[in-house]
């Protein structure tokens, strides 16, 4: 089975790789590029742990055919921080105790970023809707919702 060449922008950096047919973007990111921030949760589109932004839109990397992102831009949690400085959303998650085990956190942060990029002053209901595709089994949703709202009100989430 031949491999397919694939080139895309990964957190602002051009990457080129070869993928097997049918490989999903999550596998390409984790196993071929070594970006471990998107997580494998269910592989079915049910949990949101693998959420990434493709051309600024929230997508589930486990349900995305890797070669479909050829020539496009993929942002993962790894691209959120600016050197040693945490992104305002990451800081808010830390301050509001919005991560317990942390497995859902990368997906939650990307879903929250997709929301704030489009709508910097969301209502609580809009935050709930924005993270409705992301499952958290231990922190509880309240601290996560509060953290997203805190990041929004602080006005620091424009980065």
């Amino acid at each position: 089975m031949s491999k397919t060449a694939l080139q895309f922008r990964h957190n602002g950096r051009e990457v080129a790789l070869f993928v097997d047919g049918g490989v999903n973007l999550l596998v390409a990111l984790r196993e071929l590029i070594g970006d471990m921030t998107p997580k494998f949760g269910c592989g079915q589109g049910g949990c949101g742990a693998c959420s990434v932004l493709i051309d600024g839109e929230l997508h589930l990397s486990c349900l995305t055919l890797a070669e479909s992102v050829d020539g496009r831009s993929v942002e993962t949690l790894d691209g959120l921080k600016d050197g040693p400085n945490l992104h305002p959303l990451q800081r808010a998650f830390m301050e509001q105790f919005a991560a317990q085990c942390g497995y859902c956190t990368p997906g939650m942060l990307m879903a929250a970023k997709a929301l704030l990029d489009r709508n910097p002053t969301p209502t609580r209901a809009e935050v709930v809707e924005a993270i409705s595709g992301n499952i958290c089994r231990c922190t509880g949703y309240e601290p996560i919702i509060n953290a997203v709202l805190a990041a929004a009100t602080s006005g620091r989430a424009r980065a």
Binding site: D20, N24, L63, T64, L65, S68, N134
Partner: protein, 272 residues
């Protein structure tokens, strides 16, 4: 197991590729086919894609609207002319699924999914399919009945008449998890009326049979009547006629039969 991915520039070429290979599946938004691949579905050896822009076109210029099979639910929600389809589009998945999932793919979604198709069924939509032999239009009811035998054809678009008023088309999805979750029951009703009498009522149900189905007895109960309490009661009483739901984790077949009339009554009464 690696599969062969074939990407075509036109939907015609993609349809030909599907016609000539029984183990080929068309990949739209990925929420169905990628999930199958992730689960190791060995029946798929070839994945066919098309980058044809016509597949993601929305045409609302006339009273009959056409939506390309590759249009996502997020795109529908961004289109003001399609406001009547916003409730079904919003009831599907979370934001990521709505950015990925397509109208064409929803026609193939198994229970407890396929909610958008329930709306299209109530709207008497027409499905445009393309095969190696050419293109044809199929009424949605006929399409759904032969859905499992559709290998070798590619859905390219759906079209339907725009409801005459916002009140003439209603949609309701019952789910245990809000705002997202699989359907316990999904209901849609199109109630065209002339001089206060309903004419050509269409009521569609999801998760009440192997595929989305029409509640024809309930439709007949409304025909020629005004939408008053007695007509609504007659339709609600007939709602379970012909249904064949199954048990799943979201609800039992018994429960679905018990509540379908209750929810149809609420839908027709305009209750939230």
């Amino acid at each position: 197991m690696p599969v062969t991915v074939k990407t075509y520039a036109s939907s015609g070429e993609a349809a030909s590729a599907l016609s000539s290979d029984r183990s080929a599946r068309y990949l739209g938004g990925g929420t169905i086919v990628m999930r199958a691949l992730n689960e190791g579905d060995v029946s798929i050896s070839t994945v066919v894609r098309a980058t044809d822009r016509a597949l993601s076109r929305i045409d609302t210029a006339s009273s009959r609207i056409t939506i390309g099979a590759g249009v996502t639910f997020a795109k529908i929600l961004a289109e003001r002319e399609l406001a009547f389809l916003h409730a079904p589009a919003r009831s599907i998945g979370g934001p990521a699924v709505r950015n990925m999932g397509t109208v064409g793919g929803n026609l193939f979604a198994q229970n407890p999914y396929g909610d958008f198709t329930v709306a299209l069924l109530a709207l008497d939509a027409t499905i445009s399919v393309q095969s190696g032999f050419g293109a044809r239009d199929v009424p949605i009811e006929e399409f759904l009945q032969s859905r499992e035998r559709q290998s070798g054809t590619l859905v390219v678009a759906v079209s339907c008449q725009k409801p005459a008023s916002a009140d003439a088309f209603r949609y309701r999805k019952i789910a245990r998890i809000k705002p997202k979750g699989g359907s316990v029951i999904t209901l849609a009703a199109h109630l065209p009326s002339s001089s206060g009498r309903i004419s050509g009522a269409r009521i569609a149900l999801g998760s009440m049979a192997a595929t989305q189905m029409r509640a024809k007895a309930a439709e007949r109960a409304l025909e020629g009547r005004s939408l008053d309490d007695s007509a609504i009661s007659a339709a609600a009483a007939a709602a379970a006629e012909g249904v064949s739901p199954t048990d799943n984790a979201l609800g039992s077949a018994w429960y679905r039969r018990e509540i379908v009339g209750v929810h149809l009554r609420r839908l027709l009464s305009g209750l939230e």
